[in-house]
């Protein structure tokens, strides 16, 4: 399966929620095309019938007793907020 390596940098950067400068668009676009081209090397392999590995070690469900514990204090958890008021994060308006 071959993939299209001419990708739309502007579109993918927006999917990733990253604003790029015009200069970055040109530079990253070219660099990422080269990198994706290199990755085509993987197509030399026959992976039919091969199971994907998502984790290096076989892990079963790990269970522990569901005992309540004290977490971070509210004030501790809010301490690093860029903008907060009344123990709430302040964000731009989402709905009119």
């Amino acid at each position: 399966m071959m993939a299209d390596t001419k990708f739309n940098i502007e579109y993918v950067a927006h999917l990733a929620r990253i604003k790029l400068t015009e200069e970055e668009k040109v530079k990253f676009g070219a660099q990422l095309s080269t990198i994706l081209n290199y990755m085509e090397k993987l197509r030399e392999l026959d992976v039919s019938g091969v199971e994907p590995t998502s984790h290096p070690m076989p892990m079963l469900n790990v269970m522990r007793p569901d005992t309540p514990e004290r977490g971070l204090d509210h004030s501790e958890a809010m301490k690093n907020a860029p903008l907060a008021s009344n123990d709430l994060f302040i964000v731009p308006k989402i709905v009119e």
């Binding site: 071959m2 660099q31 290096p56």
Partner: protein, 490 residues
């Protein structure tokens, strides 16, 4: 000169009351003050905080505390491991003034063992890089040659140990980020088996590959630090249930009869002649000690880099979605939330992080998932199988840590793919989830001379075996005793 001590030597001296922890910590602080303006291994240190931890250790020792194996020893921490009350920035602008509200599990364990949590070391932003040049706080320089990189991403942790600015350090390794800088700086660096050390409190880059591990002056020190930080953790469900082994007590086993595999794919063209000679010399030394050397094959080696940079960037694109300017760190305003995210991430992330998030987003995006991400996961299965097959025949695998010694600052910055290719020998270990150690095995015959690293790879949970062989090799050689020629420069 207390700062030059290894962990083992420092503990010995502290126990014999030859010096105090406060003097030991002060000696490291003096060293930092003298040379870190050139090395730039530390991006934050609170001298008062370190000295007060040391004073506490001294009074505990005076009151007869004996069950703390690191009591009073300063350990430097890579800037992506959470330490309560210390800044946590992953060498990125996007974390801004973030101060960690809790301790990572490894930090809790270091504290329980009595260690002095010593500053924040420089790194490639979010551990993405192989040179510590991708830092918002400026590049770290290699103590052996200021014109060269210390490797990365744990370049600050390796340079700090190499330059005797601390006694030992912690780094993290996703594709070689402990072993490669350890090799470039002439230190010992251990990447534990995936699941051996808790990742709770480690800022995630690629969750199926990341592991925390020690960077030290000797193999015995790495064994000691690993014993302290390893073991199960209810807060990390990917962490093995088995308790940590007693690694230091297993260091003096005979090497005779141990089967060491040398993969033919790792000793081919493109390897620097100094590296090749040093590694071949190391093979001879181990053979003389009675190890059995066998040629093995890891046929999918050449596909490891492409596989890694698909899987790691995919995982990174998901993990770094949390940096959006809402709950912590930098915020660059926008008219709506989406614009705020885009502005914040555009301004807060450095170039390499942006590239990798965009690449990871692409390989996971609709229509490309099967062609890239799923495909790479299948190749990962083949790479794992290579190692399973090899470990059916041999006990450990020996390779160079890197194909060449430390490269020059700026040499590979403009060409990310060339930078990625330097990871060729370290990356498969993370994909397979096995353990690996880099130990000094020689120097280039150049001026100034540069350290060369030997990599030993072990079976899952086989840390005791690779530590034992690395220790035997270290004891038979004196490469680890050599210090960078910093005195003439500063």
């Amino acid at each position: 000169m207390l700062n030059r001590l290894s962990i083992t030597e420092a503990i010995d001296g502290l126990n014999k009351k030859e010096f105090s922890s406060k003097e030991l910590v002060q000696s490291c602080l003096d060293r930092i003050r003298k040379i870190d303006k050139d090395v730039n291994a530390f991006i934050w240190i609170d001298a008062e905080d370190a000295l007060s931890q040391a004073e506490k250790a001294d009074s505990e020792r005076a009151s007869g505390v004996k069950d703390k194996p690191l009591l009073g020893v300063p350990v430097a921490i890579k800037d992506l491991i959470a330490v309560k009350g210390h800044p946590l920035r992953c060498a990125s602008k996007i974390l801004d003034k973030f101060v960690s509200p809790y301790d990572a599990t490894v930090i809790e364990r270091l504290r329980q063992a009595g260690a002095v949590i010593f500053g924040r070391t420089n790194m490639d932003e979010f551990a993405m890089g192989s040179s510590t040049e991708n830092s918002a706080f400026g590049a770290t320089r290699n103590p052996w040659d200021f014109e060269r990189t210390p490797g990365g991403s744990s370049g600050g942790s390796a340079a700090a140990v190499s330059a005797d600015e601390c006694i030992g350090s912690l780094g993290s390794d996703t594709g070689g980020s402990i072993r490669q800088p350890a090799a470039f700086c002439g230190c010992v660096g251990l990447k534990p088996t995936y699941g051996r050390v808790s990742r709770y409190g480690l800022v995630a880059y690629a969750s199926s590959l990341d592991q925390i591990g020690p960077i030290t002056k000797t193999v015995a020190d790495a064994a000691l630090l690993l014993k302290v930080i390893a073991g199960s953790d209810k807060r990390d469900s990917t962490c093995f249930a088995e308790p940590a082994d007693d690694y230091p007590s297993k260091l003096n086993q005979p090497v005779k009869g141990i089967k060491i595999g040398v993969p033919k794919e790792y000793m081919v063209g493109g390897i620097d002649a100094h590296v090749r000679n040093s590694v071949q010399n190391a093979i001879k030394i181990l053979e003389n000690m009675g190890a059995i050397i066998e040629e093995i094959s890891l046929p999918h080696t050449e596909y490891a880099i492409a596989t890694y940079y698909i899987i790691a960037t995919a995982e990174a694109s998901a993990n770094l979605a949390r940096f959006d300017g809402v709950r912590y760190g930098l915020r660059v305003p926008g008219n709506d939330p989406i614009e705020m995210y885009c502005n914040t991430r555009g301004a807060g992330f450095g170039e390499e992080v942006k590239r990798r998030i965009i690449l990871g987003t692409y390989v996971l995006s609709s229509g490309y998932y099967d062609a890239y991400y799923l495909y790479a996961q299948k190749v990962r299965t083949l790479i794992r199988k290579d190692f399973n097959d090899a470990f059916g025949k041999v006990d450990i695998i020996l390779t160079p840590t890197c194909p060449a010694p430390a490269f020059r600052l700026g040499e590979k910055v403009a060409d990310p793919l060339q930078m990625y290719l330097t990871d060729i020998f370290t990356i498969s270990c993370n994909l397979a989830g096995i353990c690996g150690i880099s130990v000094p095995c020689g120097f280039t015959k150049t001026q100034p001379e540069l350290p060369i690293g030997l990599q030993l790879l072990g079976k899952p949970m086989g840390e005791a075996t690779i530590l034992n062989v690395a220790h035997a090799f270290e004891q038979a050689t004196d490469f680890h005793k050599k210090r960078p020629p910093l005195e003439n420069k500063t």
